[in-house]
């Protein structure tokens, strides 16, 4: 019997090596999310129970959930909260549209021209570091107290990521693709429209996703300041009345609005940039 034969026949069991999947990876997503939510609510209830915080600062989770139903009912019966939500939704939609148009235009300027990149961009960065709420009076005096001024503030707060996304996208085409377009005798405009813009779409969309979140914050802050009739105003009134459960439940509904905006953008991306697979993290963000 040769050594080879010995070895070949003598390893029946412990050589069988199997992959094992950790139980935590097999827990369905909704279960772990629910578990986390419940854990969070329990901690919150305990904090409330041992009176770590006064009820006019932090409501109890139960009160908040109760108020979620109150607000939900008001929304469903088409009462004044629905009207407020509708106003804020309009502000968000229009603000997003303007942020996209403006950000896209400036992004093309920055991404396509040396002048834009070297001279304009530093100013845009500087503007981005300013507390933009301080400009609210300017918008109001130009645009009045209607939704226009809130739309402007929301767009102003949200447009920067769109610029960065667009400009980064325009740089995404590789040397090969550019050269190929050059061999075809493509004009600058054709190269932009047929090559750089489509290739830059994933970057553009990640700018849009950031903008989608910011625009909601912008609209609400605009209402905080300039007296509107939307959800921001409801929050402000509830806060002034020390009605903290209401404040919390309104914020939760607002964050649903933010998530919805985000999801719409993510959906649009999957729909229109069908050729691009996202990273795992981005996928999570989009779900």
């Amino acid at each position: 019997m040769t050594q080879a034969q010995v070895v070949a026949s003598a390893i029946p069991e412990q050589t069988i090596w199997k992959e094992h999947v950790s139980w935590i990876d097999r827990v369905p997503r909704w279960v772990s999310m629910l578990a986390l939510l419940i854990a969070f609510l329990i901690v919150w209830q305990i904090v409330y129970f041992v009176e770590l915080v006064s009820p006019i600062i932090l409501p109890s989770p139960l009160e908040t959930i109760e108020d979620l139903f109150v607000v939900g009912k008001n929304l469903l019966t088409g009462d004044y909260m629905l009207a407020a939500l509708w106003i804020t939704t309009q502000e968000v939609a229009l603000g997003f549209l303007i942020a996209v148009v403006l950000g896209f235009g400036l992004g093309v300027l920055v991404g396509e021209t040396a002048f834009g990149e070297r001279a304009v961009m530093p100013y845009l960065v500087a503007i981005n570091t300013m507390p933009k709420v301080a400009f609210a009076p300017l918008f109001v005096s130009w645009l009045g107290f209607g939704i226009a001024s809130k739309v402007a503030l929301a767009a102003f707060i949200a447009f920067f990521p769109v610029i960065v996304g667009t400009a980064a996208g325009l740089h995404a085409a590789d040397q090969n693709a550019r050269m190929l377009f050059k061999t075809m005798g493509a004009s600058r405009w054709q190269t932009l429209v047929q090559l750089k813009l489509p290739i830059g779409m994933p970057h553009f969309f990640s700018g849009l996703k950031n903008a989608a979140v910011l625009v909601v914050v912008g609209a609400v802050v605009g209402e905080f300041l300039g007296g509107g009739k939307g959800f921001g105003e409801l929050i402000r009134v509830a806060a002034a009345q020390l009605n903290t459960p209401r404040v919390f439940s309104l914020i939760i509904y607002l964050s649903l609005l933010g998530l919805a905006t985000f999801w719409i953008v993510a959906w649009a991306q999957r729909r229109f940039v069908f050729w691009h697979k996202e990273s795992v993290t981005e996928e999570t963000l989009a779900q």
Binding site: A177, K182, T183, M184, G185, P198, I199, F274, W275
Partner: protein
Amino acid sequence: MAVLSIAGEAVAPAGLLGRPVYELRGVSKTFVRRNVQALDKVDLVLREGTFSSIIGPSGCGKSTLLKIMAGLQPPSSGSVVLEGKPVMGPRRDIGMMFQQATLFPWRTTIENIVLPIEIRDGKAAARAKHDQARQLLDLVGLKGFENVYPSELSGGMAQRAAICRMLITEPAVLLLDEPFSALDELSRDFMNMELQRICLERNATSFLVTHSIPEAVILSDVVYVMSPRPGRFVEAITVDLPRPRTLDMMSDPRFGTLVHRIRNHLDKGAFQ
């Protein structure tokens, strides 16, 4: 088998006749910003229907030469003339192909193929070319893949589509910069035979950059060996194996000798 040393002289290797299509005189190129001289006085004549290759160590200026010939970059001095007209920018009678297929993922295969037409003559002209594009897909063996997106094509299939895109404008010359070097060797051999078939069928004048000596020999009528940077032609080797070539010719002793000869030349330059 004839070997000619050509230093600074636009001499076509003997035994090759035909109308001169491409003519380069004293083409040199220096990248001023990085102070790199990439090419040093290259003279070259390509005759109609011939297949020439250029081989040389990495960074010797092969791609630079091809880009100048294609009108993508101006030379620092010298002139490039194609079909009697100086090359002053991209031209539609030049077809070009790179190492990467670079198909655009938002266009179907056929839309990718008619892209050069769309760019030059608009969407309507591109649509009119769909039939011809389909014939080209047949030619390269991609029948039935017209309407799939490039993500569903393998590397070799993508390069075949890139060939179709190059051919759709019916160029007079083909400039090929390592077109199949990203493929695995088996697919690459196969694609080279396809390329030969297509070139013979259309009597195309072709110019290939490659790193592979067997590939250069099996495909070419003339192989130019280039020196390290700044690139100059140090030798032009005529390959007189019969056409059409087959992969089996690689076992031919004449093939072996040619390969051996070129390798010796390169070894001197590449790995001192």
